[in-house]
């Protein structure tokens, strides 16, 4: 089974992220799946009570598009087609601090060791590391720094306000 980093440890990946074309013949009847925002919006009523359907956001799709559904969603994934596109960092932060989302926030796509520390600080707690890279190695990226100047999602206070 695929592996994923969740809350700082390597775990089995129980969720499958599906692109729009994989859903053309309909959604699988069971199994944990992550569907595109557009698909979710079209099929919301049929999916929202299942509990094993989550949504992924592409760059340009903001958390506010899911505002009314967040309470029912177990997981929101933010997809990075390229790691250089940093919009997802703001989306993750908004999910946590603006909308108070308590479920899993997962980074998918071009997810690499050297971005994980910042991603964690912005509110991601799960990472599907790119397939061709070692997930054990990526785990090291969570520990790059012990010092942070600014507040973040996990520690809202800047350094000078911390006890």
């Amino acid at each position: 089974m695929d592996k994923v980093i969740i809350d700082g440890a390597i775990a089995d990946n129980l969720w499958q992220r599906l692109e729009a074309d994989a859903l053309e013949s309909g959604v699988p009847a069971q199994g944990k799946i992550i569907v595109p925002l557009a698909y979710w919006q079209e099929n919301r009523d049929a999916l929202i009570d299942r509990g094993d359907v989550a949504v992924w956001l592409a760059p340009g799709e903001e958390p506010k598009d899911l505002e009314d559904d967040l309470a029912s969603l177990p997981l929101v994934a933010i997809h990075f087609p390229a790691f250089k596109d940093g919009r997802g960092y703001s989306y993750a932060r908004e999910l946590r601090t603006r909308y108070g989302f308590k479920g899993e926030v997962r980074a998918t796509g071009d997810v690499l060791r050297d971005q994980l520390f910042y991603m964690t600080r912005c509110g991601f707690n799960a990472f599907e590391v790119r397939e061709d890279r070692s997930i054990e190695d990526a785990l090291q990226g969570l520990k790059d720094f012990s010092i942070t100047y600014q507040g973040d999602v996990n520690e809202p206070k800047p350094i000078y306000r911390r006890a």
Partner: protein, 548 residues
């Protein structure tokens, strides 16, 4: 200067370890070129035409003498014995090796220096007036605010992968723009309200580069407590909505222009409403802690009698004094600019031995601190009037007392095609040719204040748009050409110059500059500086003279 605490130091050491491991993984083939590119740029490392270039951060231009000595050691050990002062008040090494950069960073970290965010699509070095803290015209010292912004921007997790680079400058002078805030992604202008409380007028959307423009006021008065939440709001809007498809349309200025300042402000206000009064709000205690690092040095009562005698008897000294030193907040003190613009040397270059000599002079005459200016000069900001004559002698021996500050031969120039991989054309030989043409110092003084800036390409590292005379290198079918702009300003205000007309070949450009100057001399009124004459008579007479 900001005094590092234990945590500041540990952060730098962790950064060195992180970058060392990134370099190791790159050299071992575990990181692709493309992946390492982004990581090394966030650390100021470019791969250039002949060798890598490492840009070392000098926060708002301040350097302590021990840091200068360490830089001297580094350029001697890891480079070819010289470095370059950039227009962002930073220091650039032109010949380090990729493999040795982690060692260079470790050497820098020992003296509280680094290369964090000196390149890449992140928040770059915060800049300000090189006379900050001693400028009699400023309403308060902007450096503590620069440091507060520096700490907020350092490894800010949300803003490391912005659409494009992001530059912030801070100005505390009311009627001038020595920090060029008008042409920054964000410009922060210190203001005082009716009760004397500090606040900020916040500009956004200025910039040079391919589409130069001045910014718009986004925040009319942001109370000091709200500075960071307000900046964060501007950045968040940009991070979400800035163009990521075309790097030439990715700067915040394009977004502000496309949305309009009113719409941009509305989006910022929405973000700000959420952050205001939250944990990012600055505390008086923290501001005072930072401010205490920038308190005035131990000034003495100075007897100026000997200075006045020297000024009367030594004409060369007097000329230098009136050109390269300026008024100071503190009675009896002057701020001295070391001009790194002697004809025949690359503008802004300084050698290892000169760095050490300058460190000694800083210790002897200016409380151990030196500043880099965005005009690629250096400043000893706190010199007692009674020391000026001895300092002048010492600087003259080093070649840093050329009395041309602000004059036509005080040319700002990027490294250009001699070193930079981005350049379309060379800058350094053009600068030298112009300096040689204007080799009569009396004539140069008679011409008065003229900012002449040269960039080797559109990226505008030589700030050509804001030169009274700007020269831009362009490539036409593999040949170097130069385009001239007139009327740019980076003094009383920041303004982008206008194109004179079709570009020139490299062997014409010095004649063109000379002819522009000749026309100015013919047309000027008594004591009228070049830029005022230009604004009075306009572009047409210059066009006629050059192309007619």
């Amino acid at each position: 200067m900001y005094v590092y605490q234990e945590h500041d130091q540990r952060l730098l050491e962790e950064r060195v370890a992180q970058y060392r491991d990134q370099t190791r993984r790159y050299l071992a083939g575990e990181l692709s070129e493309d992946e390492f590119l982004v990581l090394r740029l966030q650390n100021g490392l470019y791969i250039q035409r002949y060798a890598p270039m490492l840009r070392i951060s000098v926060p708002y231009g301040l350097l302590a003498s021990r840091q200068l000595r360490r830089l001297a050691h580094i350029v001697r050990t890891y480079d070819k014995g010289f470095c370059h002062v950039s227009t962002r008040q930073n220091i650039q090494l032109n010949w380090p090796s990729v493999e040795e950069v982690p060692d260079i960073l470790a050497e820098l970290a020992d003296v509280q220096m680094h290369a964090i965010q000196t390149s890449g699509n992140c928040i770059r070095n915060i800049t300000t007036d090189e006379f900050a803290g001693v400028n009699p015209d400023e309403i308060e010292d902007p450096r503590p605010w620069c440091e507060i912004i520096r700490q907020w921007s350092t490894f800010n997790p949300e803003f490391a992968y912005l659409p494009r680079k992001f530059k912030i400058a801070v100005n505390a002078v009311p009627d001038a723009d020595p920090a060029l805030i008008g042409v920054h992604d964000i410009g922060v202008q210190l203001v005082h309200d009716a009760n004397g409380e500090t606040g900020f007028q916040v500009w956004a959307g200025g910039g040079l580069g391919r589409t130069p423009m001045t910014g718009s006021v986004i925040g009319e008065f942001v109370p000091w407590q709200d500075l960071l939440p307000y900046l964060e709001s501007i950045l968040r809007v940009y991070n979400k909505y800035g163009n990521r498809d075309n790097k030439y349309k990715a700067r915040i200025k394009i977004l502000v222009k496309a949305l309009g300042a009113d719409k941009y402000r509305e989006l910022v206000e929405q973000e700000f409403a959420e952050l205001k009064d939250g944990p990012m709000t600055l505390t008086r205690e923290e501001v005072e802690r930072i401010q205490s690092c920038f308190s005035a040095p131990d000034y003495q009562t100075v007897d100026s009698a000997a200075l006045n005698a020297k000024l009367a008897e030594d004409k060369a000294f007097s000329r230098w004094y009136h050109t390269n030193t300026r008024a100071h907040k503190q009675a009896g003190y002057r701020a001295v600019t070391l001009t790194l613009k002697k004809t025949g040397r690359v503008p802004g270059d300084i050698s290892d031995e000169q760095l050490e000599a300058v460190a000694d002079l800083a210790d002897q005459y200016s409380f151990g601190v030196l500043r880099n200016s965005h005009q690629q000069n250096m400043v000893l900001a706190d010199v007692a009037a009674s020391d000026l004559y001895d300092l002048w002698k010492a600087l003259d021996a080093l070649g840093f007392a050329t009395p041309n500050l602000g004059l036509i031969t005080d040319i700002v120039a990027c490294p250009g095609g001699d070193l930079c991989a981005l350049a379309n054309a060379k800058s350094i030989p053009v600068a030298e040719s112009i300096q040689r043409r204007f080799d009569n110092m009396d004539y140069v003084h008679d011409l008065g204040l003229i900012d002449l800036n040269i960039s080797g390409c559109m990226n505008a590292c030589g700030h050509h748009h804001i030169g009274h005379i700007g020269i831009l290198g362009v490539d036409k079918k593999g040949k170097e050409f130069y385009q001239v702009t007139l009327g740019g300003r980076g003094d009383r205000e920041s303004r982008v110059g206008e194109k004179l007309g079709p570009s020139f070949e490299s062997d014409q450009i010095t004649d063109v500059v000379e002819n522009i100057i000749k026309l100015y001399v013919e047309k000027r009124l008594e004591n009228e500086p070049f830029i005022d004459t230009y604004e009075r008579i306009g572009m047409d007479p210059f066009k006629e003279r050059i192309y007619g």
